[in-house]
Amino acid sequence: MSETLAELVRGLAAGRFSSVELVDACLAAIGRHRDLNAFITVDAGAARAAAADADRLRAGGGQAPLLGVPFAHKDIFCTAGVRTTCGSRMLADFVAPYDATVVEKLRAQGAVMLGKTNMDEFAMGSSNETSHFGAVRNPWDPARVPGGSSGGSAAAVAAGLVPAATGTDTGGSIRQPAAFCGITGLKPSYGRVSRYGMIAFASSLDQAGPMARSAEDCAYLLAAMAGFDERDSTSHARPVDDYVGGLAGDLKGLRVGVVREHFGAGLDAAIGAATHAALAELERLGATLVDVSLPNSAMSLPCYYVLAPAEASSNLARYDGVRYGYRARDYRDLEDMYKKTRGQGFGAEVKRRIMVGTYALSAGYYDAYYLKALKLRRLVADDFARAFAHCDVIAGPTAPTTAFALGAKSDDPVSMYMNDIYTIPVNLAGLPALSMPAGFVEGLPVGLQLTGSYMDEARLLRVAHRYQQATDWHRRLPPLS
């Protein structure tokens, strides 16, 4: 399926095709491209039934924009009745007793869930190789990774298995796979989308967001996902902007900040060139480029690798083999049961991060690691506040390289972590950012990251939409067999 979600929205409204037809086309594509391993669970029966319901509602006058539109959820969102694994052996057979708020909201719009997409275990990874259910392959080159942790969602959209999918982003997990797979993905402001029912990794950083072909698609999805939720104590009460209506408009007078530190060592030269070309296009469309600096951004990576593991070590303490999830078969006593359950239920990267977090929070180390990282987090956030005094959005590369080969970085955690150097600062500050297709290097997609000030999603989507009206990078399709 090569249509954008927005085109499907219009086609359904005009009666050009039915939801049942769309769902059948998606299920067929999923079946043809099983080797991508983009899905952990496909729920064909429920999807067909929901599509039939949507067609009946539409015939009866139903007009919700997403009514009957097929999509997939990252397997981190709890879905009542459909298993939610979070890419882990620990939850391989877990069927949540309730729906996440994001799941409820999309269902209330009549969107049709086809299944749950593959992901790095507990969203910890940048390549989708840490999944208990196997690595996902990049549709642009099956020998390469799709990025992570929302790699299954990105690959599924890029390959046309679904027009859209949900993702989550703690340090770049929507934007980096969007860049690697040549799609558009938005991480909203912290507090914009409810975290209720989204399995926690690092609660002060986690946000859910849309992944699709275009910014217009993301506007439709975000409109359905965003909003205050009583059940998430960090949910923001601010009314949701009109993201779809806000897409219209030009870029005249827009000040685009270009971050000096983004173009230093570590950035692939060809990606640097593609980024500059995209910036020149924004300029041509009426924007003004402004030089800005994020002097503490180099501290983001070490800071994040204290805070995210610290929060993870606490959040993942709940997996104890008692109330739900995996339990080891043989054990001597309660403590041995905990240790064996967790030792066998978690994969290597999750265990690494739990141990880093445990160490950083342990007696004698708290001030040197955790407290130090909290202070650096403020410096990183203050840098953005200063930069946004001079510009309306910040534009730069999403990732320092294009998609790398499967296995290339799996033996070296620190080199894997370097993938997220441009995305992590945004999570630390709690700001919105999207990645959109902005060219190719040796046949592989390149992403441009646009970062906005707090709750400025509508502006980000408008800038990306204008760029996508003038370019066709987001229309390119991978050469799938």
């Binding site: 069927v95 007793p97 402001s189 507090g191 609660s203 002060s204 009583e230 059940r231 104590s233 960090t234 923001h236 009460a237 180099a298 501290m299 990576l301 070490p302 690798y305 204290v306 070590s313 303490a317 104890d320 008692v322 109330r323 739900y324 999830g325 995996y326 006593d333 309660l334 403590e335 041995d336 905990y338 240790k339 064996k340 967790r342 265990k351 690494r352 739990i354 141990m355 880093v356 445990t358 160490y359 929070l361 342990s362 007696a363 004698g364 180390y365 001030d367 040197a368 407290l371 990282a373 909290l374 202070k375 650096l376 987090r377 403020r378 956030a381 955690p413 620190v414 972590y417 709690g430």
Partner: protein, 125 residues
């Protein structure tokens, strides 16, 4: 509610925060972790890690700590810590029951349960 379960969960859920890894001050902290350190950390995190895995984790965690140590390049003496984006104050909700837990349904998720209780190995002789 029938779902109050008394069989000790405590052992693990005591936060590892208060554990001690090695009695040295932050200024003297080691650049690298050895296998013994990993065994202690794994114990605090209630993770079973085999001897062979310990060596690999010691190398990995040492590398990660090397990355983390870069934080010391910046002085932060008068910076206030920031635990989360400070865009809105944390809300308190009313002290009211808002969810109707269904004990049967929740217990059905447990690896072992009986008589409305979660089952764990005996902890009191």
């Amino acid at each position: 509610m029938a779902l109050t379960v008394a069989i000790a969960f405590h052992g693990f859920n005591q936060s590892p925060k208060y554990g001690s890894v090695r009695p040295i001050s932050a200024e003297q902290r080691p650049a690298a972790l050895n296998q013994k350190d990993i065994e202690k950390i794994a114990h605090l995190a209630r993770l079973e890690v085999s001897g062979q895995e310990c060596a690999a984790y010691a190398a990995d965690l040492s590398r990660i700590l090397g990355l983390i140590e870069q934080m010391n390049a910046i002085a932060t003496d008068h910076v206030a810590p920031m635990a989360q984006p400070e865009t809105t104050p944390l809300r308190f909700r009313d002290d009211a029951v808002t969810q109707n837990g269904d004990p049967e349904r929740l217990l059905a998720l447990a690896p072992a349960s009986a008589h409305g209780l979660y089952l764990v190995p005996r902890v009191i002789e």
